[in-house]
């Protein structure tokens, strides 16, 4: 059997024929980038290829890189292999990468959602034989509501906070969720103030020609009275910091797909949790995979084990693959802080370095209650 066009290596997804990687996590010569989130667009590659709308954000995040950008549907050839980008609907500029060579067609979807958020180019199913999919929310308990309904809840909450004289703080990660929230807030209620990290991303997108609603960057000089008339848009990492505490009292709303579960919501300890995700929900994943008409589907990150089993049971040929994706804020489940392990040692992959044996499971353990 001939070698498949794409393979999963310890640097990322690799096309040997075209000699390029897709979203590699270790430095390579040629990298095709699905979108600008940190777990997909790493620093250190010699050449980058991405969508036009990712350009300024990539420069902002990665500095001076050698970057070629293309439009959706535009074809680039690398060593005889055809590369074409299609919208993934995840964030502005996010793309699925179609790779074809001699009739063999693969699609690397990166992260995606099937819901139209009104700001990212909507997801399009792309016919292929091999489909590489995420499954961050690949459990049937995750089912999103219409975004209009969620934003009406958000605007009502903002309105009622304002009537009680309470400042509103809403959080979503800086590329994607922040702009989605911004474009759907009812600006008749008040103005939008942004945390610097979000405003930097907004500015990069504006440089890229994206039209966003007006925002004001919060600086040391921004009068507090002015801010209290509006809403603060902050990244999740700002929550709980002295920066945000300066604005107390406020009501804090958190937007994430994880908010679908009570446990996660309580753990987040937000005043309000809104179920809003830039990833496909259960039905979205199943329908997107089905729409590709693929022969094989590869699940990279999320609830891979159970989702793979389910897909196989309903007639797909599905398998789990190991990647390092899934470290973007929304994907790392609703933890309070990015984990920081002791000594960095624990992050190493497990190898056969242990000469000591663990006993197998299967007995009731000690611990009398």
């Amino acid at each position: 059997m001939a070698k498949p066009l794409l393979e999963f290596t310890d640097r990322g997804i690799y096309c040997e024929q075209g000699r390029f990687y897709i979203d590699p996590w270790k430095p390579v010569d040629d990298a095709v980038i699905t979108h600008a989130h940190a777990d997909h667009a790493y620093v250190g590659h010699k050449r980058y290829l991405a969508h036009h709308l990712s350009k300024e954000v990539l420069y902002y995040r990665l500095g001076e890189i050698s970057l070629q950008t293309v439009e959706y549907g535009e074809t680039v050839m690398k060593n005889g292999v055809e590369i074409c980008l299609f919208p993934a609907g995840h964030v502005i500029g996010s793309a699925q990468i179609r790779i074809s060579y001699k009739g063999e067609v693969w699609v690397v979807s990166g992260d995606y959602k099937t819901q139209d958020d009104g700001i990212s180019t909507p997801f399009e199913p792309v016919a292929c034989q091999h489909f590489i999919s995420e499954c961050t929310f690949g459990m049937p308990v995750y089912q999103w509501k219409e975004q209009a309904q969620i934003f009406s809840e958000i605007n009502n909450w903002w309105c009622s906070n304002q009537q009680q004289g309470l400042l509103t703080v809403i959080s979503g990660y800086s590329l994607g969720k922040a702009q989605r929230i911004l474009q759907n807030l009812d600006l008749n209620i008040g103005p939008v103030f942004t945390h610097g990290v979000i405003e930097n991303t907004n500015e990069a997108l504006r440089r890229n020609g994206v039209i966003l609603n007006p925002t004001t960057r919060i600086t040391a000089d921004t009068p507090k009275d002015e801010i209290r008339k509006g809403i603060i848009l902050a990244p999740p990492s700002a929550i709980g910091t002295p920066w945000i505490r300066k604005f107390a009292p406020f009501s804090f709303g958190y937007c994430s797909g994880w908010m679908a579960l009570r446990g996660a919501k309580r753990r987040r300890a937000a005043d309000r949790g809104f179920i809003l995700s830039d990833h496909a929900d259960w039905d979205g994943l199943v329908s997107a995979i089905d729409a590709t008409g693929c022969e094989k589907v590869y699940l990279t990150h999320g609830y891979t084990a159970s989702f793979t089993r389910y897909l196989n049971e309903i007639g797909f040929d599905a398998r789990e693959v190991h990647t390092l994706y899934g470290e973007e804020e929304e994907e790392t489940s609703p933890n309070l802080t990015p984990p920081n392990l002791p000594g960095g040692e624990a992050l190493k992959e497990y190898g056969n370095d242990s000469d000591r044996q663990v006993l197998p499971l299967g007995e009731d353990l000690g611990g009398v209650k």
Partner: protein, 547 residues
């Protein structure tokens, strides 16, 4: 039900105490009286009897959800709450319902009398007329407990503000075995006497712990600084048994455990002495197993808790007695406002008069003249089969709930051992979908032998870090359990240790918990099974004997 579902949602959406009280008050002020009592019953752990076996409920939910049963199970592990899992997996409702909470509870009680087919029909119809939030609380009614992040204290506080009745009084009035069908809101807020319900216990007064860590122990000077003169205090051993309130009124006896379970029948050995008490007597004390006049470790008593039938053998092997330490009612009068010293005198009189001194024991006072002396005496706790020392202010009243100031428990240091985490499992509730339940092992030669499971003692941040580690260092998955790369070392504390034939390690721990994460230790530096076994008390019997 809409109001009750909204109450749940609103309570979930805030973690501010004042806000929760406001939400509870709004609820009390907006629903009919019958609903108030039903809510109060549910929030104080008085759930309707399960009308349908929970396996059936689960099976029908799987059917309605149209997913494979294994995926339902996996979803449950992710969500960490059965009622919530079912409400999320079923299709959207097709109609609505305006039934009140009281009406729903009545239906639930009614359906218990019908046959299986009728129950199924009723349940599926009910599910399809409730929206997700209503369905969730409805499922809670059917299957779960109502642990919802709101303490009984908070509910009572809100009710006190709504009714103008003191919280302590209300706490007392909602003790015991009432049902919302027979105890009306009107009765609750009326003036009452103990005669209304002769079985009703008083709220327990709970001691506050004197906080210590293994690195920082309280000195005699610290105690003097915070507690004052030793002469103002009485000291007793802190017994490790079942806290109980024993009532004799109108010729009837009642034994209540701290969880507000009526346990009269579980302790037949106590009946003769209780029956011999004068009417209108309520005692507070600890139930323990005794042999030859000596208390036995808790694990002996444990073999008979939870058993429906007490066999002759059990009664022989672990006969119980009471160590009484307080008297709350005497000659029909509530004496909780008398001082500790005054109540002690009454207790001593009652005990001196008993014909059953082997069963009705009294908690001896520990004589001490200085805090330093008491500190030394505390070292004998383990030999006394006690958990430490109780300190009670001599002029204190008997209060409601856990209060700082007049009752303190000063426990001895837990035993501890350094162990390696080898398995992890996801938690429930607030910790759902996070790996929070761990199994620990110690070295036996070059093998790691599991010996304890523990899940408390880490901060949320530490849990996040361990969760992150587990997700990236899984060696094998067995259903919900993951075998993880043995690497992280934790100090595990526990209250007691016993031999066990059921566990591979040969030992069983009591109350194991994580004391701290030993970042400074490598897995090779964890303790050995030999070290652990050395902690075994040579005289302690095996809990398996006789079971």
């Amino acid at each position: 039900m809409k109001a009750f579902a909204q109450l749940f949602l609103s309570l979930d959406e805030t973690n501010k105490t004042n806000e929760k009280v406001r939400i509870l008050k709004d609820y009390f002020n907006s629903v009919p009286d019958a609903d108030k009592m039903h809510m109060l019953a549910l929030f104080t752990g008085r759930r309707p009897k399960r009308p349908i076996n929970s396996t059936l409920v689960r099976n029908w939910a799987v059917e309605l959800s149209n997913i494979p049963a294994w995926l339902f199970e996996e979803s449950y592990h992710v969500v960490g709450d059965l009622a919530e899992t079912m409400s999320l997996l079923m299709p959207e409702n097709t109609s609505g319902s305006n039934k009140t909470l009281t009406e729903w509870v009545a239906e639930i009680n009614e359906v218990a009398k019908r046959n299986e087919e009728e129950r199924k029909l009723w349940l599926i119809e009910s599910w399809m007329m409730l929206d997700r939030q209503e369905r969730f609380v409805f499922n809670k009614l059917l299957t779960g407990s109502f642990r919802i992040g709101v303490s009984q204290n908070l509910v009572v506080k809100a009710l006190a503000e709504v009714t103008g009745i003191e919280a302590a009084t209300l706490t007392h009035r909602i003790m015991g075995s009432w049902m919302p069908e027979t105890y009306s809101y009107e009765q609750l807020i009326q003036e009452q006497s103990t005669a209304d319900d002769i079985s009703r216990p008083y709220p327990f007064f709970l001691a506050y712990p004197i906080q210590e860590t293994s690195e920082k122990r309280k000195t005699a000077d610290d105690l003097e600084a915070s507690l004052g003169q030793p002469a103002e205090w009485q000291a007793e051993w802190k017994w490790d048994g079942i806290r109980a309130q024993m009532i004799k009124r109108d010729g009837k006896i009642f034994i209540w455990s701290r969880g507000e379970d009526l346990s009269t029948e579980k302790f037949p050995e106590l009946h003769p002495f209780l029956n011999a008490l004068p009417d209108g007597t309520v005692l507070d004390g600890e139930i323990l197993s005794f042999t030859n006049g000596l208390p036995m470790p808790f694990n002996v008593l444990q073999t008979r808790i939870g058993r429906k039938n007490l066999s002759k053998k059990i009664l022989q092997d672990s006969p119980v007695a009471v160590i009484a330490y307080d008297c709350l009612e005497f000659e029909g009068e509530d004496i909780r406002t008398k001082t500790q010293a005054e109540r002690r005198v009454i207790l001593e009189q009652l005990q001196a008069a008993t014909e059953y001194p082997e069963v009705f024991r009294i908690s001896e006072l520990i004589k001490f003249d200085s805090w330093a002396e008491l500190e030394t005496l505390r070292e004998q706790s383990r030999a006394m089969i006690a958990e430490g020392i109780m300190l009670k202010r001599k002029n204190a009243t008997y209060q409601v709930g856990r209060r700082r100031g007049d009752w303190w428990k000063w426990k001895i240091d837990p035993l501890s051992i350094d162990a390696v985490m080898i398995y992890a499992q996801k938690g429930h509730g607030r910790r759902a979908d996070l790996y929070t339940d761990y199994t620990f092992a110690v070295w036996d030669g070059d093998k790691l032998v599991p010996f304890a499971k523990a899940y408390s003692g880490l901060t949320d941040q530490e849990i996040n870090k361990v969760d992150y580690f587990v997700k990236r260092n899984t060696l094998e998955k067995f259903g919900p359990v993951r075998t993880v790369k043995p690497e992280l070392v934790f100090e595990i504390g526990f209250e007691g240790i016993n031999k066990s034939t059921r566990h591979k390690s040969g030992i069983a721990l009591r109350f194991p918990r994580i004391l701290r994460w030993r970042h400074d230790k490598k897995k090779e530096e964890a303790d050995t099974l030999e070290t652990l076994k050395a902690l075994l008390d040579p005289v302690s019997p095996s809990p398996e004997e006789g079971s």
